[in-house]
């Protein structure tokens, strides 16, 4: 597009961000500060993720953008359009066809490969922020690997609710060393981060932090031996594709409050239906 550099950001900024990414990859789970730029989008719209994506995107890449698992939400559509215009890259909704996937709130159900990169949009990069408000203190805790406080929070949860009550942004240990916020993905997605073949990059625009999980790195959800981490999902099958192993959204489908559980990953659901799978509620729709 006229008047803009490839993928909007100037090359110097991209180099600065790539240096931060390299550092982040070298120390898995460690938050690297970077000089976050103003983007033509408000914070909370994924400015951190967008800057990371802009810095790694090449002309040959194929970009997929999802928000809550869907490619067609306002946020996903506008980011995808932004890069289609400023970088002229191919875009796709197919997880398998993408080389770069920017995401908010989900990890695709289709397993990612070594030749893919996933970029997470992160509102709060500091997993200890709610327990220890001082950045100085949390930095010391990370430097010394002192994470007793996080376990105190888990202890409090089990004491109060009989289980760990964190359902999103469930804290993980990366490479057995750094405590990390996986971004507000459902805890259900946490196991997908463990030893993922794809490179995982995390960008927090407002908080000006980048962190990373290199391919095939250990990512463990914190837990107790006698209260092991469990990836919880609604105990239903997808109404459209019948999947029983995917993360589901509950949607209201008519004005009488009829509810339906459907895959939150729309591409995964569509791919399954194309392959002939169907759920209990898919017939009426097909008949329309």
């Amino acid at each position: 597009m006229e008047g803009y550099n490839f993928a909007y950001l100037d090359e110097q900024t991209k180099r600065m961000i790539r240096r931060a990414i390299l550092k982040a990859v070298a120390v898995p789970g460690h938050q690297v500060p970077f000089g976050s730029r103003e983007m033509p989008l408000p914070y909370g719209w994924g400015t951190g993720g967008i800057q990371v994506t802009a810095s790694i995107l090449g002309a040959d890449d194929t970009l997929k953008v999802i928000d809550q698992g869907a490619d067609d939400t306002t946020n996903a559509v506008s980011i995808r359009r932004f890069f289609a215009r400023t970088a002229g890259v191919r875009t796709t909704t197919r997880t398998a066809e993408a080389t770069v996937i920017q995401t908010r709130h989900r990890v695709p159900e289709t397993p990612l490969r070594e030749d893919q990169i996933i970029v997470y949009q992160v509102p709060q990069p500091e997993p200890l922020s709610r327990l220890e408000p001082s950045r100085v203190q949390t930095k010391i805790m990370h430097a010394l690997g002192e994470y007793g406080l996080m376990h105190v929070k888990l202890y409090e949860d089990v004491a109060r609710y009989g289980q760990v009550s964190i359902s999103y942004d469930y804290p993980v240990m990366v490479n057995g060393r750094h405590l990390m916020a996986p971004s507000p993905i459902p805890a259900f997605d946490n196991p997908k981060l463990d030893r993922m073949p794809a490179l995982q990059l995390f960008g927090a625009g407002r908080e000006k932090r980048i962190y990373a999980v290199p391919p095939f790195t250990s990512v463990r959800s914190l837990d107790f031996d006698d209260h092991p981490f469990r990836a919880i999902r609604a105990p239903h099958a997808c109404g459209l594709c019948g999947a029983t192993d995917c993360y589901l959204d509950e949607v209201v489908v008519d004005d009488r409050g009829k509810r339906l559980f459907v895959c939150s990953d729309t591409d995964h659901c569509a791919t399954r239906r194309e392959a002939g799978h169907s759920g209990a509620d898919s017939l009426p729709e097909a008949a329309e």
């Binding site: 430097a143 002192e146 007793g148 105190v152 202890y155 004491a159 107790f224 006698d226």
Partner: protein, 259 residues
């Protein structure tokens, strides 16, 4: 550097705050399982000495040596910060006069007691909870209060909770700064009894700072008297209190008798 058999030895400690000399050539030794009281009037340098012994404040001169559980002797002020912090979490404890400085007021009593266990790698919830409940009982807090927040506790209970939180990892050395200060006399007496029986049973060495000679008499095996940043007299508690040599100690002891 460290006296034979001693747990902690300090030599030649000096520290000034501007023109105020808080420590001058202070030395001390503490042996495993003994209670050493540091007494002296307000401003004599007791708290400063405790902070220097525990590595929290760096002296202008002098050394502090500690014999760790592994047998290795470490220079407290030369060791890397992570190692010192690890020591504070495991073999050492620090009991503050104000328990609120040490406790997490928005975390349950059980969580407060369990924290050090978890910081040391305990990952079995049931065991952590059982141990916390046992410790609450040990410090005479009903185990039914395990899920209550400290803010619902009385001053005496808070101090006992702080002691449980500190002793749960069975440290070999605990620093205490006026642990009974600010409490009612009857509450003080009960707390002193508890501290005395616990450290004896668990064989914990205690460096106890107090301005109260009566507290020292009740708890301490040995006493160190400080005046203007110097250690002026050291000895067995009964000896020092019943037969004080230094004129300042005589004054200190007699003022208690007069009180």
């Amino acid at each position: 550097m460290i006296a034979p058999g001693a747990l902690l030895s300090a030599r030649g400690l000096a520290l000034s705050f501007g023109r105020i000399v808080a420590l001058r050539d202070a030395a001390m030794d503490i042996w495993p399982g003994e209670v050493l009281a540091i007494v002296g009037e307000s401003g004599s340098g007791k708290t400063t000495l405790l902070n220097v012994l525990s590595g929290n404040v760096r002296p202008d001169g002098g050394t502090v040596a500690y014999r760790s559980g592994s047998g290795a002797v470490v220079d407290v002020h030369a060791m890397p910060a992570p190692a010192l912090r690890a020591l504070h979490r495991s073999e050492w404890g620090f009991v503050q006069q104000d328990p609120r400085r040490n406790l997490r007021m928005n975390v349950s009593a059980g969580g407060n007691v369990g924290e050090r266990l978890m910081a040391q790698g305990a990952r079995h919830y049931g065991n952590i909870r059982d141990e916390a409940a046992r410790w609450l009982e040990t410090v005479e807090i009903d185990a039914s209060r395990i899920d209550d927040l400290p803010r619902t506790f009385s001053g005496g209970m808070l101090q006992r909770l702080q002691i449980a939180r500190t002793l749960v990892t069975r440290p070999s050395l605990v620093f205490m700064d006026e642990p009974t200060g600010g409490l009612d006399v009857s509450v003080q007496a009960r707390l002193l009894d508890l501290i005395r029986s616990l450290v004896a049973r668990l064989h914990i060495a205690v460096v106890l700072v107090t301005h109260d000679i009566a507290v020292a008499r009740l708890l301490a095996d040995r006493i160190m008297v400080m005046q203007n940043g110097s250690v002026i007299e050291t000895g067995l508690t009964d000896q020092v209190l019943d037969d004080p040599h230094h004129p300042y100690t005589q004054l200190l002891v007699s003022s208690v008798l007069a009180a």
